[in-house]
């Protein structure tokens, strides 16, 4: 028989205002097993905890019930209190009489009655509780970073600098991500490549970092501290260890008309290519969709010109198995498709471009060598119209746009407008905006400079439509402050397209069992207090995969994610959850139902010898749970037809006792 102590908390007036705490503690004192019952103003305070500790000693308690707030709030607190007074932490049960009782009832009689029932339920459970000890699992002291943009690069560098090994998996042939495509960065206007490429080189040269470029995560198994990851290294038909990156093959390849994705298809590359001059790793890749040799065996020019003998047309995709203790998701973003915004004529005119395309046009390494010309005829544009919020803040067009604010557009548009006016003073630049949002250090000053010093025309109002007419783009828009409709004959229109998470994020989230919101951004464990952790233990978030972010914010978050990873990898062992499943081997009939439903692969079957009647030995196939892998979800206990599977701390017997106590 247990000796149970009941402690009813007032929580100031949070509970005491709608629950008669004295009546509750008196009623619960009469329950079977209860030898002590008390109430106190703040049970979680130092004085309240001392009260519990004293009662444990004085009444030789073996279990306690605390009637207070949600266990999410203070279960750990009271478990520690119990442990410090010498009883097993799993002999503590919390009856939630605040969130589920006092806060939702107005009438003190109803509240008190319900609080008594909830307390009685917890007592019924404690009567059947048994001490549990958490197992320990080792930590693989290595981290995986998925995505090699600025977020992934910064996270990897910070983890590696702390002395842990890091692997970066990047789906493209080079790391660098979106930032490598940018020209200048707001609000300081330093060149993106100048600040990014040294970091890319740092990554390549860091002895603790390995880069798996042109690779994808194919499968993830395991749990925090012990992930088993399969990485698919796609065939690039070039031996990475041999290629010197001289680029001769990319000049001699006869297939010249391949759209260059690095310049968003505004120019062409060869079938064998290096995305850009500062690529890391600087290794050529053959695009199998265009290579004549791979398609029909007729060519082989790159192989002939390669002095390093790096070309290997026989290369296959390879699968690599690796172990990690922590995984950081840094899968980034993309601008949304503009195809459905017919009113802006993106599909009709080459001179209507997205901001990322404009970024490439302005970039010295871009398709026009940084010269601002119209994509259609190569002429210098005189009138440029920037349209903000294209697809952002779009509540009505889920199939077209996004409901959220993409956050970075106001600032990069100010940058584009400013740079255009700075380099080409003969231009007229209009920016149509709904609101200009510039929260950030030196951001508003930057925007005002564009308007005041560079003479950018900021117009409050949206562009209604863009109509190509001859070689002009007729822009019709409203000026809400002047209460006028304006028509501008523009040479170029630049659309600030909304941004969305990279399409690969959804399948990665599924593999990691990490949750996402309706927009496919990864969900953080707590929106304010745990912003870089996923609710799934051991999974961390870095950069725009969690929400729209600019570079400074991304770098800050990348460092924060790294700090959390380092905190995890610095531990030698992780304490597990002792509330895991276990099978009663005498009852198990070997049906494998539990093995099939287990989402964590924690159950395996073994042949085991049992004593039969008349000194015979029977060999039976029985289920065994790996407690280090089991997460205590309880799926197997429901699936088991013979009732052999049970969950420690949440045994069927205990739950039935609780139900009985409620129904009494």
């Amino acid at each position: 028989m247990q000796r149970i102590g009941v402690f009813v908390c007032w929580c100031g007036s949070n509970i005491a205002a709608t629950v008669d705490v004295e009546a509750v503690s008196q009623a619960l004192a009469k329950e079977p097993g209860v030898v002590h019952s008390a109430n106190y103003q703040y049970m979680c305070s130092q004085a309240g905890q001392d009260l519990i500790r004293a009662a444990i000693k004085e009444h030789k308690l073996t279990g306690i019930v605390v009637c207070s707030c949600s266990p999410r709030m203070h279960e750990m607190t009271f478990r520690k209190t119990a442990e410090s007074a010498g009883i097993n932490p799993y002999m503590v049960e919390i009856a939630n009489i605040r969130e589920q009782c006092s806060w939702i009832h107005k009438d003190i009689l109803t509240g008190t009655e319900k609080a008594i029932v909830l307390g009685r339920t917890a007592i019924a459970k404690v009567n059947l509780n048994a001490p549990l000890t958490a197992g320990e699992s080792p930590v693989t002291k290595r981290a995986l970073v998925i995505g090699g943009g600025i977020a992934g690069i910064q996270t990897a560098l910070d983890i590696a600098d702390a002395g842990f090994e890091v692997d970066i998996v990047e789906k493209n042939p080079t790391i660098g991500g979106k930032m490598a495509q940018l020209d200048k960065t707001f609000p300081t206007l330093d060149c993106a490549a100048c600040i990014l490429t040294p970091k890319m080189v740092d990554v390549a040269q860091h002895e603790k970092i390995r880069i798996f470029s042109y690779s994808e995560v194919a499968a993830v198994k395991g749990f925090v501290g012990n992930f088993d990851v399969t990485i698919k290294k796609k065939a690039r038909y070039v031996r990475e260890d041999v290629c010197t990156g001289c680029g001769l093959c990319t000049e001699k390849c006869p297939v010249k008309k391949v759209p260059n994705e690095f310049n968003l298809g505004m120019d062409t590359r060869r079938a064998i290519y290096i995305p850009f001059a500062q690529a890391v790793p600087k290794v050529a890749t053959i695009d199998a969709d265009y290579c004549n040799m791979l398609k029909n065996g007729k060519c082989g020019v790159c192989s002939k010109v390669c002095t390093a003998k790096a070309i290997d047309y026989e290369q296959k995709d390879t699968l690599i198995e690796e172990k990690y203790g922590a995984i950081v998701v840094a899968t980034g973003f993309n601008p949304i498709s503009m195809e459905k915004f017919d009113e802006y004529a993106y599909s009709q005119s080459k001179d209507v471009v997205t901001s990322l395309e404009f970024e490439r046009i302005m970039n010295a390494a871009g398709p026009t060598q940084g010269k601002l010309v119209r994509p259609s005829d190569g002429k210098h544009p005189h009138t440029l119209v920037f349209v903000q919020c294209v697809g952002s803040r779009c509540a009505n067009c889920a199939e077209k746009g996004k409901e959220y604010c993409s956050k970075i557009c106001c600032m990069y548009t100010a940058k584009h407008a400013m740079l255009t006016r700075d380099k080409y003073p003969d231009t007229d630049v209009y920016v149509f905006y709904i609101d200009v949002r510039t929260p950030g250090k030196n951001f508003d000053e930057f925007y005002r400079r564009a308007a005041e010093e560079y003479g950018v025309h900021y117009v409050k109002g949206m562009v209604g439509k863009v109509m190509p007419e001859g070689d002009k783009l007729m822009v019709r828009a409203s000026d809400l402050i002047a209460n006028k409709q304006i028509n501008i004959a523009a040479d170029m229109v630049i659309l600030a397209a909304a941004i969305e998470p990279d399409k690969s994020a959804r399948s990665i989230a599924t593999m990691l069992t990490a949750s996402m919101d309706t927009n496919d951004f990864f969900t953080e464990a707590h929106p304010k207090l745990r912003p870089v952790e996923s609710p799934t233990a051991g999974i961390f978030l870095s950069g725009a995969c969690q929400g729209p972010k600019d570079i400074p914010e991304t770098v800050a978050q990348a460092g924060a994610a790294a700090a959390k990873v380092i905190g995890l990898l610095a531990k030698d062992k992780l304490k597990g959850n002792p509330c895991v499943a276990s099978s009663n081997e005498l009852m198990c009939n070997g049906c494998s139902s539990c093995e099939r439903v287990c989402p964590y692969g924690a159950i395996s079957y073994v042949d085991k010898e049992f004593r039969g009647p008349n000194r015979t030995v029977l060999v039976r196939r029985v289920a065994q749970v790996n407690p280090a892998v089991c997460q205590g979800c309880g799926a197997c206990t429901v699936a088991c037809p013979s009732g052999a599977m049970d969950l420690k701390g949440f045994a069927t017997k205990q739950i039935m006792a609780e139900v009985d106590a409620i129904c009494k």
């Binding site: 509540a395 009505n396 109002g461 949206m462 439509k465 409203s478």
Partner: protein, 130 residues
């Protein structure tokens, strides 16, 4: 009078099925309106004035007859406000008032021209004598 106009606001909102507070004041409706120059009050103003209850100027304005009901504003509004439906509801508020026709039967003759079909003239007399 004030009470009536307050009713008019509710009636216009009910009849149009439009919630004007969904408007984020981007002006895309007026930026796309082909009848903009013909209108004293523009699509975004209709939404704002109904939202704030400033209905009377709209009822008196010729703008309600200038809207082409092309629904470009409905199609392009990023927030799904549907301004054309508000304009339509304001127009109905005027048309459905008994004795508040903007033409009298006596005035029909002045507006006649040779192109008007016979049936339209008969209908006009039937309507404006009420």
């Amino acid at each position: 009078m004030e009470k009536n106009l307050n009713n008019a606001r509710e009636e216009i909102i009910r009849r149009s099925g439009v919630n004007p507070s969904k408007c984020m004041k981007c002006g895309k409706c007026s930026g796309t309106c082909p009848a903009y120059d013909e209108m004293e009050y523009h699509p975004h103003q209709f939404v704002y004035m109904v939202e704030t209850g400033d209905i009377e100027p709209l009822l008196k304005s010729q703008s309600i007859y200038r809207c082409l009901s092309c629904f470009a504003c409905v199609d392009r509004c990023p927030r799904g406000v549907e301004p054309a439906k508000i304009v339509e509801a304001v127009r109905l508020e005027v048309i459905r008032q008994q004795g508040a026709n903007h033409l009298k039967a006596e005035g029909v003759a002045e507006n006649l021209d040779e192109e008007i079909p016979q049936q339209a003239i008969v209908t006009a007399f039937r309507k404006y004598t009420k």
